[in-house]
Amino acid sequence: MKYSEKVMDHFTNPRNVGEIENADGVGVVGNAKCGDIMKMYLKIDENDVITDCKFKTFGCGAAIATSSMATELVKGHTVKEALALTNSAVVEALEGLPPVKVHCSVLAEEAIKTAVADYYNKIGREIDFEIEKAHDEE
């Protein structure tokens, strides 16, 4: 199994690692049992634009790289655009993932959507999208 240079770049120099105090949306997905957990923090302004996005991830190289790439892909974009982010877009941006690692990109998509759902809940907006789960529920 070999990772692309892009994956190794995002693994060794992950972008946007950290937490956001008083984030507008937080999403935690995955579980320690399966070996990966992603936590996404979103700062969203009054125009629905994601002004900041940070993550913390427990997981393999692909889990860290997909988290990092996902934050890059949604930062500066509207919430609506973030919801349109698919796992395959993350994989493509990383110049591919080994087949056994594709579920990590699903987890990244799920994390962004879960964080947006949290934001919707906070502002009392109806959640009008579905979230695909990377892992089966316990």
């Binding site: 690692v17 399966c34 913390k56 991830t57 427990f58 393999c60 889990a63 860290i64 056994v100």
Partner: protein, 395 residues
């Protein structure tokens, strides 16, 4: 890159120069087929017989009890399947193994189970030692075979093989031990160790991949696995890999000669264990003392093994993990789970397996390289965040 340290000798070892030198003439000059009647064949046959003698001498058995195979996996498959099918004719259709065996053993037992045998998989304690009481209860007059490893490949724990033999033999069952990790690292004397069969593999002891052996004690009869042209006394078909058999003999002799140097390896292993378990929230996996001299397996909480391996690799250190992340399944090591290690910590396990070639400077390098990697990964782990904030109930 500051340094290169190969600490994955339990996966495979480099072929030693002495082994290569013994093998080369067999490839270039003594290329005959040992079954041929002419001079080239006779020459090859003599070399093959001598390799078998050398191996038997190291292991304390008779040359007629050693069969060359393609490696550990074939030996494991042959011993278990061959014994099971043979014993079935005597009405024995039960196989006992442990939960921490290599997949070559586990999957062979699974296959036999699908074919109608009953299989009991014995549990282990927190150190990875097979539960002898459970074993005593499991073995009965229907038991064909007890297949339990000599030493575990992941956590290094050495199993009580003598006691296992006593329990199995008291009910008339055969004993097979997968000694792939033990041979060369532990003194094995088959003149006093009463196992019926034992497997070994060349590439774990500085011989090439693709050669192994199965010891089958005189008087023990098992069915063939590979049919062919009557080689190995009609027990294992296929033209003998003469050069590699010589390589195996040379490697085994060398390992035997260096058994007295193992305390040095153990000292390095203990330094790894002592220093690395100083990292907070880390724990040794496997028995503290009764373990393979080169094996250090440590679990680090709140981080995942593959990320650790990637960073170690970038730093020039080759190691291995029981994390699920390099396999298609989401389950971590079956060995660690059988020992009761929680999934969370099993994902963060790191196996460092050193050898005679390892130096004190290599150990220094690992000890100084690993802690910052663990720290870096924890700093980006949401689980660690909870620990820092004091919210983690498990920590």
């Amino acid at each position: 890159m500051a340094r290169f340290v190969y600490a994955d000798n339990a996966a495979t070892t480099p072929v030693s120069r002495e082994v290569i030198e013994e093998m080369l003439p067999c490839l270039e000059e003594c290329y005959g087929n040992p079954s041929s009647l002419h001079q080239k064949g006779r020459e090859a046959k003599e070399i093959l017989d001598s390799a078998r003698e050398r191996i038997a001498k190291v292991l304390g058995c008779d040359a007629s009890e050693i069969y060359f195979t393609s490696g550990g996996t074939e030996s494991d498959n042959w011993a278990i399947r061959g014994a099971a099918i043979k014993m079935k004719a005597k009405g024995r259709t039960h196989i006992v193994t442990s939960k921490i065996e290599h997949h070559a053993v586990l999957h062979t037992c699974d296959a036999l189970e699908r074919e109608g045998f009953t299989v009991t998989r014995i549990g282990v304690d927190a150190d990875g030692v097979v539960d002898l009481e459970e074993l005593s209860r499991a073995v009965n007059e229907k038991t064909a075979l007890v297949a339990i490893m000599y030493a575990n490949n992941e956590v290094g724990t050495i199993e009580p093989i003598r006691e296992i033999c006593d329990i199995a033999h008291s009910k008339g069952a055969l004993v097979f031990t997968d000694a792939v990790q033990a041979v060369g690292n532990v003194k094995i004397d088959l003149s006093t160790l009463p196992v019926d069969m034992l497997s070994l593999s060349g590439h774990k002891l500085h011989a090439p991949k693709g050669i192994g052996a199965l010891f089958v004690r005189k008087g023990v009869s098992i069915n063939n696995l590979i049919e062919g042209g009557g080689q190995e006394k009609r027990r294992r078909g296929g033209t003998e890999n003469v050069a590699f058999a010589v390589g195996l003999a040379a490697a085994l002799e060398m390992a035997e000669k260096r058994l007295c140097e193992l305390p040095r390896v153990e000292k390095m292993r203990d330094r790894l264990i002592d220093e690395l378990t100083k990292i907070p929230y880390s724990k040794l996996n496997g028995h503290r003392t009764n373990r393979l001299p080169g094996n250090a397996n440590i679990g680090f909480e709140f981080i995942e093994g593959e990320s650790m391996l990637l960073w170690l690799d970038i730093s020039g250190i080759c190691a291995s993990t029981g994390s699920a992340c390099s396999s298609a399944s989401l389950d971590p090591s079956h060995v660690l789970l059988a020992m009761g290690v929680p999934h969370e910590r099993a994902h963060g396990s790191l196996r460092l397996s050193i050898s005679h070639d390892t130096t004190d400077e290599d150990i220094d390098y690992i000890i100084e390289t690993l802690p910052p990697i663990v720290e870096k990964l924890r700093n980006m782990s949401p689980l660690w965040e909870e620990v820092v904030k004091g919210n983690n109930k498990n920590a």
